[in-house]
Amino acid sequence: MNAQPKPPNRMPEDERMIRGMAAFGDDEKFLGLFPVTWRYDLTARFPGLRKVLRSRWTSFLLQIAGFAFFMPALMAGWIGSSVGNANLIIVLVWIFWWSALMLLMVPFASRIWCAICPLPSLGEWLSRKTFIVKPGGKPLTLGKKWPAALRNMWPVNFVFLALALFSGILTTKPIVTAAMLTGMVLVSLGTALIYEKRTFCRYLCPVGGFLGLYSNFSTMEIRSNPYSECRGHKQKECVVGTAEAYACPWMEAPTTMSRNTYCGMCLECFRTCSLDNMSVRLRAPGADLLVDKHRGLDESWKAFIMLGAAGIYSATMMGPWGFLKDWANMKTLSGYLTYVGILGLTVMVVVPALWAAAIWAGRALAGVEMPFRRLFTNLGYSLVPIGLMAWIAFSFAILMPNGSYMIKVISDPMGWGWDLFGTAGFPWTPFGLRVMPYLQVSCLLFGLAYSADVVWKLARQTYGDKRPAALAAIPPVVFLTGVTALFTWLFVG
């Protein structure tokens, strides 16, 4: 069917052009191990998988499964025990969901959480007026377009930051988490009635920003095969929709979409495409970081926020400093405002300023004419691997000591003294704490090596010449090493 023969499991050259990865050939490898252009098309190998993905039931059942966990958790949050570790909502959301995102979903399955997430489902069902089948007629929404000036990650950055300031009480008080999740359902409902499609998910969801950015590191992707008939196919069903399936709810153009950032894996493109041209593919981690398309400062700041927040959370929650904990827990207003100031300044100013200094020094070392902002933004994507690995290290420190609460809580989700499965008396039982420091440092060192390699590739892509690129990459590598040394100190020093 394809216009030209496909090299085995490699991205053809014309696809590399479309994807903004023209700078990298088949011999380019991450860490000398993972070929950048390697792709393993799961949907081509397993035809049954395509059938499953095409079915409208798949998305619905995933969402319903999400609801089956969400409803009891939400209920426990509102009316259950105020003890965090005896309440399903805290244990499920902040111990299990968060760890699952960082350890499994984001690194290996991109934004698969967005396919399960129950929060926007009510709004989506209401605006579509159906659960599964696409009806004829107008949807129940004003269908407004999100303001052009806000079509970026800035709103999400600020929503995330606003919530991050409350992370201390958010992760320990059931009712606060319940209020946040209920608020998100209500906002998504309102957004669905006013704005088109998944405007909430793409432009407002606080989790969406880092899921999007960090999913660039993921080993899985949904892409079209743009070099086949797709390019000449004028119908563009994935963009305009068909009678049976919706146009991309995430307002992407699946034909040329080249990064995981804004793909919520809702699978509509599999259903609209009459050519069966969409595919789920495996690939090397971090492939999207090299995609020179749609890069921007909004995403750079997302990277700064996530990296800075990982450091501050580790210090506050895993550190020995009582005053930090008192600040974050709002013991006094002045203390809390100090915490807000430190967190805000660190993620919005200090980390970006240090990065800017590294980029400035690199540009000066390279000595070749290069717009500062371009270098700053492009190389900024190298912060993703070390950022994700720092979050993974942090997640180990949450999951391994506290995972056993789940065994107790499934028997007594509300903390009301139930004993549904006979495990309500299960004591707090940490596991693997002897090996935890090894896991954490392994992650950090892997993240540093990966980030350093990515910054070198990005510098070459930006300069188009290896000699200035090598010099320009040195100060950012210094920055990354310093960040890693700091995290190493926080976790084992």
Binding site: S81, V83, N85, I132, W416
Partner: protein, 121 residues
């Protein structure tokens, strides 16, 4: 096509309303057998009413830190840990009003953490 929507709608209703309804129903059937008593900094709630000469099952729930539960010299449960509700079976004999106090130091107003148990005829 209609059947798909109906099946899906039933599933949604089942999850959205069925799960909370089942939880509340379970709690109601459970709470008829026990009286939940919440111990928090620095309150004991609610006021407990029992009939003289009957056995009553109390479920003592600490909702923030570790508390104790003491009725005069008769009963003293020294540690009720948050997240681990404890059942206490009391058999009331003499009618009257008795004071409950916390017997596990629980912060600045520990001494003021009092409740009541009323034994009715």
């Amino acid at each position: 096509m209609r059947w798909k929507e109906i099946v899906a709608g039933l599933m949604v209703a089942g999850v959205l309303f069925g799960i909370p309804a089942a939880a509340i129903a379970y709690q109601n059937s459970y709470a008829t057998q026990v009286i939940p008593v919440k111990l928090s900094q620095w309150k004991i709630e609610p006021e407990i009413h029992v009939k003289a000469g009957t056995k009553t099952r109390l479920l003592l729930i600490a909702t923030d830190v570790t508390h104790g539960f003491q009725i005069g010299r008769l009963i003293n449960i020294k540690a009720i840990y948050p997240g681990h509700p404890q059942e206490l079976i009391v058999t009331a004999v003499d009618p009257g009003t008795y004071e409950i106090s916390c017997s596990n130091t629980c912060g600045v107003d520990h001494a003021k953490m009092l409740g009541k148990i009323v034994v009715e005829k």
